[in-house]
Symmetry: C2
Subunit: 427 residues, 2 copies
């Protein structure tokens, strides 16, 4: 399949943050073959006219728990620990079917909102893999491994089976990583085994890290060191790793993350709503840490909306530190796109020749996107999920005219609502 996008204001997110006006993008199979201001000579099977509107990399949601759409708006206005306790009670009754429909709904929400790739950590991950495969999203999937309750070994075995069954499937679109839940839910042994398995299988590791003051202080009490220091010391960061949240880090923690090349996934909406705090993103960027963005689960966020995360990442640090130069529009765009791709290790997140074709086209006539004095600025400070007209993932159109075209959306909504009813009737 080949696609030509024309008449586009292209936010490339290349290393110079180049904007191309009246630009063209030619896509063949899974890849971008050409980007430029001059019409290419290639003949495409499908042409998409951006009508002068913004065309940019699809957004990368680098930390989420997709099936938690089932819990959206459940247990609002609670801090993390109390919220977790409310959720855990209901999670015990989850099954494959619920997770499939929760994940499928999240994927449709994600795709229609301009997300091209998700990094999902949850359980019943075969069901999640099927939902991601069916909806057309690019996915990195990790079976949450913990042994504070239940068997870590069994979960790690499931994680290994997931790799064998799904890693690299769907033309490279579905991928697997190892996801030990967090320092406070995993023993030292299971954390070490997780890192070893990731090493053996050549996949990345995804973990929650220092989400709250309590988590960090409690670890210091128990282990005499911060979660970051502890994980580094036992070898967890010897494999390429993604650490979600990182709200309460010391200067030394940041230096450790930088020295091990750990990517930090900033989840501003979830951190604000659960009152975890505001992560030291400007400081981490200053140190050269690769910072990407995630929505976390819809149970805490409440949405799978990367335009919201990108916006929050751009404004909350300015307001918090009273410095308007922090996380400017181009930086926010990088956090939401190419930094996520770098964290996950795939050749995407920017619009450049030979990159994977994960691209979104925004509505040129959306009221909040005019006038366009500054393309990067308007994408970040004005852009919204509802501005997404077309979403292309792995070279395939998955959203057209704002609607997901890969799956029967009405059927998924019906089955999702039935799942919610059954799940919460039991609780």
């Amino acid at each position: 399949m080949s696609i030509l996008i024309k008449n586009a204001t292209i936010i490339t997110v290349d290393k110079n943050n180049t904007i191309i006006n009246n630009g063209y993008i030619y896509i063949e199979d899974r890849f971008i073959k050409y980007v430029g201001a001059i019409a290419p000579t290639y003949k495409a099977e499908q042409e998409i006219d951006a009508c002068g509107g913004i065309v940019m990399p699809a957004l990368v949601n680098a930390h989420t728990h997709l099936a938690m759409t089932l819990f959206r708006s459940y247990a609002s206005d609670l801090p993390l620990q109390k919220w977790l306790e409310s959720i855990w009670k209901v999670e015990d009754d989850l099954n494959e079917e619920f997770v499939y429909y929760g994940t499928a709904l999240a994927c449709i929400e994600a795709l229609e909102g301009g997300i091209g790739c998700v990094n999902d950590m949850y359980f019943f991950m075969e069901a999640a893999a099927k939902a991601c495969a069916d909806t057309g999203i690019r996915a990195y999937l990790g079976r949450a491994v913990m042994d504070s309750v239940g068997s870590g070994e069994q979960r790690l075995q499931e994680a290994e089976e997931l790799i064998e069954q799904y890693n690299g499937t769907q033309n490279g679109r579905i991928n697997v990583l190892i996801a030990p839940h967090a320092e406070y839910t995993c023993s030292e042994e299971i954390l070490k085994s997780s890192a070893e398995l990731a090493q053996k299988k050549g996949v990345r590791l995804h973990i929650h890290l220092s989400e709250t003051d309590f988590e960090t202080q409690d670890c210091i009490k128990r282990r005499g060191k911060t979660p970051t220091q502890f994980l580094a010391d036992i070898g967890v960061f010897d494999v390429p790793a993604l650490a979600a949240h990182c709200v309460t880090l010391s200067e030394q923690d940041m230096d450790i993350l930088k020295s091990y090349n750990v990517s930090v996934i900033h989840n501003p909406a979830s951190n604000l709503k659960l009152a975890s705090g505001i992560a030291p993103v400007p400081e981490m960027l200053e140190k050269g840490i690769n910072v990407a963005l995630g929505t976390d689960g819809a149970g805490s966020n409440n949405n799978i909306d990367m335009f919201r995360e990108m916006y929050l990442a751009a404004v909350i640090h300015k307001g918090n530190k009273k410095d308007a130069s922090l996380v400017d529009a181009n930086t926010a765009l990088r956090l939401a796109t190419i930094n996520g791709a770098a964290a996950l290790g795939y050749a995407g997140g920017s619009i450049e020749a030979d990159k994977l074709a994960d691209i979104i086209v925004l509505r040129h006539n959306s009221l909040s996107l005019i006038p366009m004095h500054d393309a990067a600025g308007i994408a970040v400070y004005s852009g919204a999920k509802s501005d997404v007209k077309v979403n292309i993932v792995n070279g395939k159109v998955v959203v057209f005219d704002g609607k997901c075209v890969t799956i029967d959306k009405e059927l998924i909504i019906t089955k999702f609502m039935q799942s919610v009813k059954t799940l919460f009737k039991a609780n």
Copy 2:
């Protein structure tokens, strides 16, 4: 005209924050005549089926500069003072036509995003009044009065003429107040004259107050007291007043505002983006100050999106103070609706019998609005401008199926873009 809304999950925002499931609302002329769970016997000319979705008061944008849509995405990533200097240069070339189209575009954006009422401070306010009248929005309009540059007396005279010409017109939908710009742009004389004129005409007063540390500290240096103390001392708060921003207030300032019954308009998006800081909203609420919300102008925000303001008001204080109980969903809803109506002094902002009929209906099948475990929570943490299906202002349907039906939207967009082109060619 009479309208019956049925099958609604009604967020009433009454004094008990009552939610009515499967509810009915009967509207006659400008007013709500009936709200309840039992079908009324009235026969309506128009029926609207909410299909189980949320029906709530239209949002009140209690501080904005509508025509600044012309400046959307201009001068991003600058702090307030530098941003103002960039804007002021171009504002010199504004005229009635530019302001009409800038305001009309803002009104369409506002209405389609669920806003029922705006409190606008700008200039060429006759043009603004016409745009508000034409689009169907409820509006409070104030000619910005200042004398740091130009004649304050002339502006005050324009303000008085605006009252005579427009106050209470359009069936009470268009109203006028007196709007001295701020302590730092007005002399003591013009501030006093503004308050006297408001008193004489029986209208409210709208002013910027302590938006930044610099503004507050500079006033203390010049006058030996805070802007709040100064305005109180010279009688500005002897008339019912709305003070926008209030980011840097002392404990004593807050006590003064409370004792004079001044309403504070919190503008979280603008304050974050311009790095002004985070207003002490939880503290003001604790003291019983009437706090409402505004978008400020699209030049700094960048949108006229009260769902975003309501969301930010709910989450940023939680994150900033690490307290998940701050500004809960019901409080955020009140800030965005009834507190705005109270600040402006009209009988709206809640869905109760005998209130003015400013009501919105959200899409029942929006992915981010399901499942609805908690109606207030989902409206605040998940709701978005794109979820608005119907907007009713002063008893009249102004948005249907998400589209503004009161004005030729395409024509306004065309004329708006022409205005932008002409305005910025000169600059």
